[in-house]
Amino acid sequence: MDMYTEKVMEHFRNPKNMGVIEEADGIGKVGNPVCGDVMHLYIKVESRNGKDFIKDVKFQTFGCASAIATSSVITEIVKGMPVEDAIKLTKDDVIKELGELPPQKVHCSVLAIDALNEALYDYMTKRGMKVPDVVRERHKRLSRSGEEHGH
């Protein structure tokens, strides 16, 4: 068995949506260079028929191949997704999309979910919206310890 699935390597080789959104509606920054992974996620949100959609999303990542691949894949998953659905995503959705991650790399999928959470939190608080409990809890946990992101 190879360490990484072909899908992981594909995203690593050709990461989608990398870069910065200059006028982002929400920015999520998680991870810590000390631990070897940092992910920055930028989102642009659009309202259509009273529903919020993630219109655009970009990332910057410092980290191993699976950190880069999970970053890329989370942007693909959420691009065009209603915010209310994006909130419900978990690390398993990321892993399922990639096929599999080696046990010691599962934390990268958590990192991607965390980055999304932080971007959504940032967006919601900036707009003065009510932040759903799940997003608030996750944010609290993440801000308590900048160094902990699931491993």
Partner: protein
């Protein structure tokens, strides 16, 4: 795609001459070297010849060479064997912070058995000060273990001086020479070495074979119990074909040692010069006192594994440091011991050149590496510096 193998510190291909010498021992001279009959005696002849060849490289007697299953077993046998056999004298061991895990984790195991271990610091090049060894030796010290060449950054340690100090103080001295054996000159007498670990697969011999030099008279318990093989110091039917291959590999290494060292040093210098042309790149380890073929770098703002995998996509095999820790999340203990910060230690790349590397290989790396570094920095949130 042309493949370039630049991970010779992790392992090497078996040399053609080595494999040729091994072949008859699989299905023809296949006897058990302990057997009385002609098949056994043929195997024994192969074993003895290999022992002679290995002994010669380090200036040892044949009976001081014990064949093992590799560098890891040699390290474990030396450290556990000496510690346990001499525990009446004391339970203190001295080693360094930059040893291979085969030494470090064995020392940790001994700590769980009531031993006390001093892990010496190194300077920013990875060199341990002989005086620090001297200062750490106590009445109850039974063993000093300092590696000859570091497997990640390639730094060569002053083991001759460490050996002299140990001899003066009457403490056994073990050195893990897995990376230097056959590449850098070693003389166990001149260097006052009591135990020395070797591994075949680092010198174009087969994997699964190694040796431990044990000076006559050194008190050591075996690690493996069973039949009375290897002067009763290591039980188990001898891997004759593998050992014959190791013997041949040792012989060749000795023959080409000098010419290879100067050839590889030239390649390394070219590599270092080229790579340091990339902005915010750094050489790790000592600029001169290092294994001829080892070039070890770090690049700000990017992470080593991504770098290795991107190089692999271009057919270039390299590593972040030691192969054994590639799947771990921890940054290298060696780089941290040099005083690097965690985030710096994550961005390392080891290019270890060997017998089959050419100038063209170096050029190929220098052709693709700058672009890869640039790409990865493009994705990185730290284009200008580390901040969160």
């Amino acid at each position: 795609m042309r493949r370039v193998y630049m991970d010779n510190s992790a392992t090497t291909p078996v040399a053609k001459e080595v494999l040729e010498e091994m072949l008859p021992y699989f299905s023809e001279r296949f006897g058990n070297a302990s057997s009385l009959h002609s098949f056994g005696r043929e195997a024994k002849l192969g074993l003895d010849a290999a022992r002679k060849r290995v002994a010669k490289v380090i200036g040892a007697e044949e009976r001081e060479i014990i064949f093992t299953s590799g560098g890891t077993e040699s390290d474990n046998t030396a450290i556990v064997g000496v510690a346990m056999a001499n525990r009446e004298k004391g339970k203190h061991i001295i080693t360094t912070k930059i040893e291979h895990h085969a030494v470090l984790n064995t020392c940790k195991f001994l700590e769980s058995r009531g031993f006390e271990v001093t892990y010496l610091d190194v300077d920013k090049f990875g060199i341990v000060k002989p005086e620090s060894v001297e200062g750490a030796i106590r009445k109850d010290t039974v063993l000093v273990s300092v590696m000859h060449a570091n497997n990640e950054i390639g730094t060569l340690e002053p083991i001759g001086e460490v050996g002299r100090i140990c001899r003066e103080k009457g403490v056994y001295f073990h050195t893990d020479a897995v990376q230097s054996f056959g590449k850098v000159g070693i003389d166990v007498d001149r260097m006052n070495i009591d135990l020395l670990s070797m591994s075949s697969h680092k010198i174009y011999g087969p994997k699964g074979v190694g040796a431990l030099y044990v000076r006559s008279g050194v008190r050591m318990e075996p690690l493996l119990y069973g039949g009375s093989h290897e002067f009763r110091k290591r039980a188990g039917t001898e891997n004759v074909a593998g050992i014959v291959g190791f013997g041949k590999a040792a012989e060749i290494s000795m023959k080409v040692m000098e010419s290879e060292a100067s050839r590889l040093e030239k390649l390394r210098k070219e590599m270092v010069k080229g790579v340091l042309g990339i902005e915010r790149s750094h050489l790790n380890g000592h600029p001169e006192k290092r294994l001829p073929g080892n070039a070890h770098f770090r690049f700000d703002f990017i992470e080593g594994e991504s770098l290795v995998l991107r190089l692999d996509m271009e057919g270039i095999a390299a590593s972040t440091g030691s192969a054994c820790s590639t799947k771990s999340l921890e940054p290298s203990h060696v780089l941290l011991a040099l005083g690097l910060r965690h985030e710096e230690a994550h961005g390392s790349l080891r290019l270890s050149m060997g017998r089959y590397n050419t100038k063209e290989d170096v050029e190929r790396v220098l052709e693709v590496l700058p672009g890869i570094v640039k790409d990865l920095r493009e994705i990185s949130p730290f284009k200008k510096g580390y901040r969160n």
